[in-house]
């Protein structure tokens, strides 16, 4: 078991190294070089050239990637922090520590100052949505699964297909038109400050609603199909035939077994909600992780994009590992290998 987890974490570190290298290589294609991005538009070509030389940006890709990894692991100092460059980049944590994500050229600050706060905001949004999606989709998935073909079941199937076909920004447009333009109940932007005169909780309603609507249909359909599969098993038929009340059969025999397969699906909604909320955050101007990533990518801010990639891949892969471990506890027939 311990070896299994260790192995999986080894694979995770490898995946993070590979993805960060790929991102590094891909971002190099983008027009505009790092020195120019760092200094901003109002500098002479000479100043750009000086910084280019000092940061050794002419080195091969692998050397520059190795340097970035060195800064991240705290092996070398971040070259951008050198006071002789006169950039004014200051990191209160020091310039050589493990987990140094570097300086953002977009925000002109250490990435560590920005990313965690943004992640917290997104976590609040995603957490609220998750707390609603899971019980709601399990409830409706089970209700329609135990009566396959009923009116509720067919209604839910259709609702599920329709909801998963509506992209988040369209949901955003529709909900804003209904609740903001027509009814005037809620604010159309969620900047998390009170300048607009709307309280923070009221600003959270629409983004959460959009996320719930977007994800609910998919999870509910997964739960439904798992329940239907278990309902057709022989031990369920046996339980019914030996005269157990229907509620007991469903509670004891169906539900426990039917929750195994959707468990992974439900867990995998966490990385989806953390990183897949880019669109919702853009629609409502929500200061979250996804919007930070989009802004950074559009600006060509490699350090921030790299940091966001590491965090996103870490969340995605670690939920997968937790899912696999949980799956094995739920289903003892699966063994560690």
């Amino acid at each position: 078991m311990f070896v299994f987890i260790l192995k999986r974490f080894g694979v995770m570190v490898l995946t993070m190294a590979l993805t960060s290298f790929l991102v590094f290589a891909v971002m190099e294609f983008s027009p505009g070089d790092v020195a120019r991005k760092t200094l901003g538009p109002y500098v002479t070509q000479e100043q750009v050239d000086i910084l280019y030389d000092k940061l050794k940006l002419g080195d091969p890709l692998f050397v520059r990637y190795a340097r970035w990894v060195g800064v991240l692991l705290g092996l070398i100092e971040d070259p951008l922090a050198d006071p002789s460059l006169g950039l004014g980049f200051e990191d209160s944590r020091g310039h050589r520590y493990f987990g140094n994500l570097g300086f953002s050229t977009l925000f002109k600050e250490p990435v560590n100052n920005i990313i965690w706060e943004r992640l917290e905001n997104t976590g609040a949004l995603a957490g609220l949505a998750y707390a609603i999606i899971v019980p709601l989709s399990i409830l409706f998935g089970v209700l329609s699964g135990i009566r396959e073909g009923s009116a509720l079941d067919r209604g839910l199937s259709l609702t599920g297909i329709v909801l998963t076909s509506i992209p988040e920004y369209a949901l955003g447009v529709f909900t804003v038109v209904i609740f903001v333009v027509m009814l005037g109940w809620l604010p159309g932007t969620s900047t998390l400050d009170d300048r607009s005169g709307w309280s923070v909780p009221s600003q959270m309603v629409l983004p959460v609603l959009v996320l719930v609507m977007y994800d609910f249909g998919y999870v509910a359909r997964m739960v439904r199909s798992a329940v239907i599969e278990v309902m057709g098993r022989q031990y369920v038929r046996t339980a019914v035939l030996k005269g157990l009340p229907r509620s007991t059969v469903i509670r004891v025999h169906v539900l426990r077994n039917a929750m195994i397969a959707p468990f992974t699906v439900i867990l995998l909604q966490i990385p989806f909600l953390i990183s897949g909320v880019v669109v919702t955050e853009v629609v409502f101007a929500y200061p979250g992780f996804g919007r930070m990533l989009l802004d950074a990518a559009l600006f060509g801010d490699i350090t921030t994009v790299e940091a966001a990639t590491l965090v996103a891949v870490f969340i995605a892969v670690s939920t997968q590992i937790i899912g696999d471990i949980g799956y094995m506890y739920l289903n003892p027939r699966i063994r560690f290998t």
Binding site: V181, S275, G290, L298, A312, Q320, R333, I334
Partner: protein, 296 residues
């Protein structure tokens, strides 16, 4: 770890029938599923709009009517109103259908060619080829999809060709995984061995013997993916990573109009409705096809 493999249980290979006849028979069977019929109807509606856009459209998609700037809401001269620049919404929606219905299927097709090549090679050759392809796929699949699109498109720039490229990178590993599973399920069946003993080359065996047996599930997946890709391209347009202006890209139209949603909601609602309806059409079609396939 060992996950249950019962979902990949080998299925009996479809008997070799003339492809065209089967296609027609399946097409006729669409009528068995009302859901598939509704889906087909929606898709056909947009396909006709796209095909005849130059004839039914009242204006050019990029023609500006400056007299409509003061009041862009629907009127007799502009039945669906105009956008911020006085361009006719109906014309832009019709021409937008052309873009959506060419770009998304083209992207999925290219992704499918790449995905089938990966899946067939991994499943047929096994060994190190399988390991290599599967590991590479795992790396791409461990990226949250939208982050992958954002990074790719911002790096290579927004254009039709680059969108196709990004869709291929992002979805071919998933397609490859499905094809690999289907290949493994027929890999050791007699008719594949027979072709090998006959001395056919691996490429022929993969394309002419193995691939046709995987047709059923792949058609459903193809339809679903077009639906997703229409949504994805819409999202890219909305994030400003879609087709560069002035092309009437539905996602881009929503993006341009959201700032004024409280004043002129029709500018963002209409393209949203268009994209949603087309995505629903493809998803209903895929769902109906799956139901029909499940009856076999």
């Amino acid at each position: 770890m060992a996950l249950p493999r019962d979902r990949e249980r080998s299925r009996p290979a479809a008997a070799a029938r003339p492809g065209l006849a089967v296609a027609f028979r399946n097409l006729a069977r669409l009528g068995e599923s009302p859901i598939a019929m509704v889906g087909t109807g929606i898709v056909l509606f947009w396909a006709l709009c796209a095909l005849f856009a130059p004839w039914i459209s009242p204006y050019e998609p990029n023609a500006q009517d400056l007299s409509a700037l003061a009041d862009p809401t629907p009127s007799t001269s502009h039945p669906l109103g105009t956008d911020l620049l006085g361009r006719d919404m109906l014309a832009r929606l019709l021409y937008g259908a052309r873009l959506a219905l060419t770009l998304a299927p083209a992207a999925v097709l290219v992704a499918y060619v790449a995905g089938c090549a990966m899946g067939l090679a991994a499943g047929y050759f096994g060994g190190w080829a399988d390991s290599l392809i599967s590991r590479c796929s795992d790396v791409v699949l461990s990226f949250p999809v939208l982050i992958l699109y954002v990074i790719l498109i911002t790096a290579i720039g927004p254009s039709a060709l680059n969108i196709i490229f990004a869709v291929t990178v992002a979805s071919s590993p998933g397609i490859g995984r499905i094809v690999r599973g289907l290949t493994l399920s027929v890999r050791n069946l007699d008719y594949v061995s027979a072709a090998e003993i006959r001395g056919e080359r691996p490429l022929y065996v993969m394309i002419a013997e193995i691939l046709p047996s995987a047709r059923g599930p792949l058609v459903v997946d193809f339809c679903l993916r077009i639906g997703y890709t229409i949504i994805t391209i819409g999202i890219l347009g909305f994030l400003g990573l879609g087709l560069p202006p002035p092309d009437p890209d539905w996602g881009g139209m929503v993006r341009d109009a959201t700032a004024l949603i409280t004043i002129w909601p029709h500018m963002s609602v209409l393209p949203s409705v268009a994209i949603v309806s087309l995505a629903i059409g493809f998803n209903l079609l895929a769902d109906g096809l799956r139901t029909i396939a499940g009856r076999d």
